[in-house]
C-alpha cells in the first residue's frame, strides 16, 4: 500500500472552494484533464454510493464510487472501480480546511492504493502532480479574486 499526499493553499474562502468541488459529477468544470462525466443510473451526485463515469482528455475511462461526502468537514472520499491506471484498492480523499489568517483555504488530496512495485514512483508522480496538484492549480485560477 502506498500513499500519495498533496496539499496546497487556495486564495479563496473554504465555502467558496467547496462550492466548486462538491459536485461529484463536476470534474469537467474544474479539472484540466476530464473531458466529460456522468453519474450512473441517474442518481443524484451527492448520494453516497453513486458512481461517476468519466472520460479523460487523453481518452481513458474511469469509474469512481462516492464513499464520503461531508458538507460539515468539506471532505469527499471515493474509490476507483475501474481505470487504465493499473491500481488496486485505490481510495482517495479531498479535504478543505479554512485558514482563518487571510480567509483562505488549505486543500489536501491524498490517495492510498496498491500497484506493481516498479510502477510506484511513476504512479506517485502522475497522481500527486499530474492529478492532484494540477487540480489545485486549476482551482487557484478559477477562484482568483
Amino acid at each position: 500500500m502506498i500513499k500519495v499526499y498533496t496539499s496546497s493553499v487556495i486564495d479563496a474562502p473554504a465555502e467558496q472552494v467547496w462550492a466548486r468541488i462538491r459536485d461529484f459529477n463536476g470534474l469537467p468544470g474544474w479539472t484540466p484533464f476530464v473531458a466529460e462525466s456522468r453519474i450512473e443510473g441517474g442518481l443524484p451526485s451527492d448520494k453516497i454510493g453513486c458512481v461517476r463515469n468519466f472520460r479523460l482528455k487523453d481518452g481513458g475511462m474511469i469509474r469512481e464510487q462516492l464513499l464520503t461526502l461531508s458538507d460539515y468537514d468539506y471532505q469527499c472520499s471515493y474509490s476507483i472501480l475501474e481505470s487504465p491506471l493499473g491500481v488496486d484498492n485505490y481510495v482517495a480523499t479531498l479535504k478543505l480546511t479554512p485558514v482563518t489568517d487571510g480567509n483562505r483555504t488549505f486543500a489536501e488530496w491524498w490517495a492510498e492504493f496498491d500497484c506493481a512495485p516498479d510502477r510506484e514512483g511513476q504512479l506517485s508522480r502522475d497522481i500527486g502532480q499530474g492529478v492532484f496538484q494540477a487540480g489545485f492549480d486549476s482551482l487557484k485560477m478559477l477562484v482568483r479574486r
Binding site: T100, D101, R104
Partner: protein
C-alpha cells in the same frame, strides 16, 4: 462551551515549525505574550504529562499540562490545570500539516473552554487574537530572525577541515600547539557545529597538565563553546542547521573551529544571549546554578564564603548568592580583585595570597563562621575552611586550584556536624532534562540581570597558550574567551 479555532500558513517547512512547537517549553523564545516558562520538576519538554508554568507579560500565571504529543502526526494537545484567569476545562490542540505546494506549513490551533457567563466574547478574543493570532505572528518573526535550514537535514556531508589548539604532551602552556584537524560528518545522535566563541576554564589547565586524565595527547582541550549548527545526525530532534547553540561538557575538545559532538549536551541559545556571553557562561554559569540551587539550596540570610571571588565562577556566585538574599564574603588575592568582587555584590572581602582567612572571616561574622563555603582552592585551604565553617555548615569543594583535598577525616567534620560535598558539573548535566533546566535558569538569570558578565579577556584561538599563562598567573578578572 466556547470553541476557538485559528489557522495560518507559515512560510517554512513543517520540520522547522514542528521543531519549535513540539517543545512545550519554547514559548518565551517566540510567543509575544509569554514572559516566563518553566517545566515543573525538571521534566523533559516532550514528556507527556509534564506541566509548564507560564508567567504572561500582563502578570497572569497559567499552568498547563501536556496531554498528547505526536511526532508522527505533528499534534500537541494540552490543557490548563489552573490559571489566574477565569477559564475552565480549557483543552487545546496544535496541529501542523505539510503544504506540499511550496514546502510550507498549515498550522491549526483549536480549543474549547468555559468562562463566566457574559465574558464569552472577551475570552474568545483573548485566546483567538491574543494567544493564537499573536502566536502566528510571533513565530513568523522568530523564523525571520532565525531562518535555520530549509528542512530537517540529515547528515550526509563530508568531513570538514578545521584548525584547533592541541595539547602535544602534558605540560605547561607551551604544549598548546595549533594543528589542522577534521570535523567528521555527524553520526546518529551527534551534531556538527561551527564555533564562534570558546570559553577558557581552570579545568582546561588541569587537563593540559595531565592532572585530569581526560585526554591522551596529542588532542585538543576545552569544555565549552558557542556557535552555529552545521548539520545533525539521525535521531536528533531538538537541533536544526542554523540554530545558535552552546554547550559545556566532557570530553574535552572545544579549542577548535569546527566540532562534532553528542547533541544531547547541546542547548539552543535564546536570541538575547550573544555568542561571547554564551561561551563564557555555560560552564561557569551552570556551575553557579547547581552550587546555589542543587548541591546546596541557598536560603536568604545564610552567610556564604566564596573563594576566588573575582574569578569566572566566583563573580557569578557572588552576584547570584547576593540576589538570593545571602550575606556574601569573598576571598581574593589583590585589591583590584577585591573591588571587582565588591562590585559583584560581596558584602566583605578578605585579601591575601597565603590561604589564611578563617580568623578574618570569624571577625566579619561575629565569630559564627560561614554557613556555606564555595571552595575552588582545594588542599591548601582545607584546614582554614574547616575552621571558617559555622556549626552545621556546608563546605562545597568544586575545584582544587592548589591540589585535591586529601586526608579529610569524618571526625573533623563531626566536630561541627559539617557537610562536605565534592560535586562535579558533568554529573549534574548528564541528564538532559536537568541540563536543560540548568541552562534555562542560567539564561533567565542573565536576562533578569541577576548575573552579569564583563568579558575583559579575549584572545585569538591561536593564542590559547597566552590565555592559559594569564589565567594561571592569577592576573585575570572574570571570564576568558577564545575567538576562532
Amino acid at each position: 462551551m466556547i470553541r476557538v479555532t485559528r489557522s495560518a500558513i507559515i512560510d517554512a517547512p513543517i520540520e522547522r515549525v514542528w521543531a519549535i512547537l513540539r517543545d512545550f517549553n519554547s514559548h518565551t523564545a517566540w510567543h509575544p505574550v509569554v514572559a516566563e516558562s518553566v517545566i515543573e520538576n525538571d521534566e523533559p519538554a516532550d514528556q507527556v504529562g509534564c506541566v509548564r508554568n507560564f508567567t504572561l507579560k500582563d502578570g497572569n500565571h497559567i499552568r498547563e499540562q501536556l496531554l498528547a504529543l505526536s511526532d508522527n502526526d505533528y499534534v500537541s494537545t494540552y490543557c490548563i490545570l489552573d490559571a489566574t484567569l477565569p477559564m475552565q476545562r480549557y483543552v487545546a490542540t496544535v496541529q501542523l500539516k505539510r503544504v506540499t505546494d511550496g514546502d510550507r506549513t498549515f498550522w491549526h490551533w483549536q480549543s474549547t473552554f468555559d468562562t463566566p457567563r457574559g465574558r464569552e466574547q472577551e475570552f474568545a478574543d483573548l485566546v483567538g487574537k491574543g494567544v493564537y493570532e499573536g502566536g502566528f505572528e510571533g513565530l513568523r518573526a522568530f523564523l525571520r530572525r532565525r531562518p535555520g535550514a530549509p528542512a530537517m537535514q540529515t547528515a550526509g556531508g563530508e568531513t570538514m577541515a578545521t584548525q584547533g589548539m592541541v595539547v602535544s604532551r602534558f605540560g605547561g602552556p607551551d604544549v598548546l600547539e595549533a594543528r589542522p584537524l577534521e570535523a567528521r560528518s555527524p553520526g546518529p545522535g551527534e551534531v556538527r557545529v561551527r564555533h564562534s566563541a570558546i570559553g577558557v576554564n581552570y579545568i582546561d589547565v588541569y587537563v593540559r597538565k595531565g592532572e585530569y586524565r581526560m585526554i591522551e595527547p596529542p588532542a585538543p582541550i576545552g569544555m565549552e563553546a558557542a556557535g552555529v549548527v552545521i548539520d545533525v545526525g539521525d535521531g536528533v530532534t531538538h537541533l536544526l542547521p542554523g540554530d545558535r547553540i552552546a554547550y559545556a561538557c566532557a570530553p574535552p575538545g572545544a579549542y577548535v573551529g569546527l566540532r562534532t559532538l553528542p547533541a544531547s549536551q547541546v542547548v539552543v541559545l535564546p536570541d538575547e544571549i550573544d555568542d561571547e556571553t554564551a561561551a563564557a557562561v555555560m560552564l561557569k554559569g551552570m556551575t553557579a546554578e547547581y552550587l546555589l540551587h542543587r548541591t546546596h539550596l541557598l536560603r536568604g540570610g545564610e552567610t556564604v564564603l566564596v573563594h576566588a571571588a573575582a574569578g569566572g565562577v566566583g563573580l557569578l556566585l557572588c552576584q547570584w548568592a547576593k540576589a538570593l538574599g545571602a550575606r556574601v564574603i569573598g576571598t581574593v588575592s589583590t585589591d583590584d580583585k577585591a573591588r571587582a568582587a565588591r562590585a559583584a555584590g560581596c558584602d566583605a572581602t578578605i585579601v591575601g595570597r597565603d590561604y589564611r582567612f578563617a580568623a578574618a572571616l570569624h571577625d566579619a561574622t561575629g565569630g559564627r563562621g560561614a554557613d556555606v563555603i564555595y571552595d575552588g582552592l582545594g588542599q591548601a585551604a582545607a584546614r582554614e575552611n574547616l575552621e571558617a565553617l559555622a556549626m552545621c555548615g556546608h563546605w562545597i569543594c568544586y575545584g582544587h586550584a592548589s591540589g585535591p583535598v586529601d586526608r579529610l577525616s569524618v571526625e573533623s567534620l563531626g566536630q561541627k556536624s559539617a557537610t562536605f560535598s565534592s560535586p562535579v558539573l558533568f554529573h549534574y548535566t548528564a541528564d538532559r532534562a536537568v541540563l536543560t533546566a540548568m541552562a534555562q535558569r542560567t539564561f533567565e538569570a542573565l536576562r533578569q540581570g541577576t548575573i552579569r558578565l564583563d568579558i575583559r579577556h579575549r584572545y585569538p584561538l591561536s593564542s590559547a597558550a597566552q590565555a592559559h599563562r594569564d589565567l594561571e598567573s592569577r592576573a585575570t578578572i572574570g571570564p576568558l574567551i577564545l575567538l576562532p
